[in-house]
């Protein structure tokens, strides 16, 4: 019988959302339309329209050694062209953000090739070749993984994911990279805090009901409490118990 991945335990809406995001057979829901050049501006790695700087010659010109693995694995577009490795880093508020760092890493590992994610408590960075990065960033910003108010692009000075929101509903950002302007959220700085020549509109912030229904983070005050998901607790306790006992007797 063919193996069907389950992606994660749980019966709550949060666990269902986690599974939906991780499953590469399900497409993300498109929520907004930030264009390519705006994404390049937000990332701040190169000027929009400029050529991709390279770290090495294209693989076709370089002459690859005779290697069976290279014959099996096709290089990604960025690797084939010899692009530099660049990053995007996102911060997710604990107040019902649609995605969160661990979840992001799982999602990216299931869906993309040639990436190097780094997971921290409040932020998640993913590194890959520049042109691959721009495609991934498009997915991360334009789909249901992103909320303009509670998810934020922050390359540095990331503090804010665990704080209260501001009066207008925005997550605290010491550098105020994005502002609420005329009902929509606009980025005025790129991800590392350098001012942009033009504002980049990332659309309206999602309402509380949508966030509660689409979040992948448990929260006992503003969202779905972890304790309400008995199946998830049972799974976490089982893993914890096995890990603890493993050194002594690696059987259940």
């Amino acid at each position: 019988m063919a193996y069907t991945p389950q992606y994660g335990p749980g019966t709550s809406v949060v666990s269902e959302n986690r599974r939906k995001q991780m499953n590469p057979k399900l497409a993300f829901e498109k929520m907004r339309d930030v264009n390519d050049s705006d994404i390049v501006l937000l990332l701040g790695h190169r000027a929009p329209g400029s050529a991709y700087p390279t770290a090495h010659p294209p693989l076709a010109e370089q002459g690859e050694p005779d290697c069976p693995i290279r014959k099996i694995v096709a290089p990604t577009g960025g690797a084939a062209a010899g692009d530099r490795v660049r990053y995007i880093q996102l911060v997710d508020s604990m107040q019902n953000a649609p995605c969160h760092p661990y979840q992001r890493t799982y999602v990216e590992c299931y869906r993309y090739r040639g990436i190097d994610p780094g997971t921290l408590s409040g932020r998640q960075i993913v590194e890959c070749r520049e042109r691959d990065l721009e495609k991934i960033s498009e997915d991360l910003i334009n789909t249901n993984l992103f909320d303009p108010a509670r998810t934020s692009l922050r390359g540095a000075t990331v503090h804010g994911h665990s704080l209260r929101l501001a009066e207008d509903g925005m997550m605290f950002d010491m550098l105020q990279r994005c502002v609420l302007d005329g009902g929509t959220v606009k980025y005025v700085k790129n991800q590392i805090g350098e001012p942009l020549d033009k504002k980049v509109d990332v659309g309206k912030m999602m309402d509380d009901a949508w966030l509660k229904a689409n979040t992948t983070i448990f929260h006992s005050l503003v969202g779905t409490p972890f304790r309400d998901d008995a199946e998830y607790i049972e799974y976490v306790q089982r893993i914890h118990s096995l890990r603890t006992k493993y050194g002594f007797m690696p059987v259940e």
Partner: protein, 156 residues
């Protein structure tokens, strides 16, 4: 003889306050006679980007700026989330609560009574203020910051 222990209270709001809301609540509080000290707590907002590739670049931020409280201009350097008050008497607590209720109409808030301000100097306080410092200064302003506290004209 022991020093008098003054009652203190802490006001925490559900969300971080805009400078305009901070100005409103502080002006209401400043009108109440019998408040000795006010401390505004919240995450710091630096004037320039402190670290990272953009280090040293100016950092315009709508939550930082000058507010007018009791006719005095105060330079707001944090996004206010907690207000600590030291009172001369507990009797004014209901007045403070009603001031909060009149300003925080769209937010919930909590008001707690207890000890929230430092009463003894830290090593940094000692280095900055010396051995015979006024105890009123402890904890009232970030000792690493070069600026001092703002003094509002009393209304007693």
């Amino acid at each position: 003889m022991t020093d008098a222990v003054y009652p203190q209270c802490k006001i925490e709001t559900e969300r971080y306050l805009n400078p305009s809301t901070t100005e409103q609540i502080l002006n209401k509080i400043a009108e109440i006679p019998g408040i000795r000290r006010i401390i505004l707590n919240g995450p710091n907002i630096p004037q320039v980007v402190p670290y990272g590739p953009a280090r040293g670049v100016p950092n315009p931020h709508s939550a930082r700026g000058a507010i007018i409280v009791g006719g005095e201009e105060i330079d707001l350097r944090v996004q206010v989330g907690t207000i600590l008050l030291e009172l001369e008497d507990k009797d004014i607590l209901p007045e403070i609560r009603s001031a909060c209720e009149s300003v925080f109409t769209t937010l919930t808030f909590s008001m707690k009574e207890g000890r929230f301000m430092r009463s003894t100097p830290t090593q940094t306080d000692y280095a900055k203020y010396g051995p015979n410092a006024d105890a009123m200064l402890y904890g009232i302003v970030d000792p690493k910051n070069k600026t001092g506290p703002s003094i509002l004209q009393g209304n007693k």
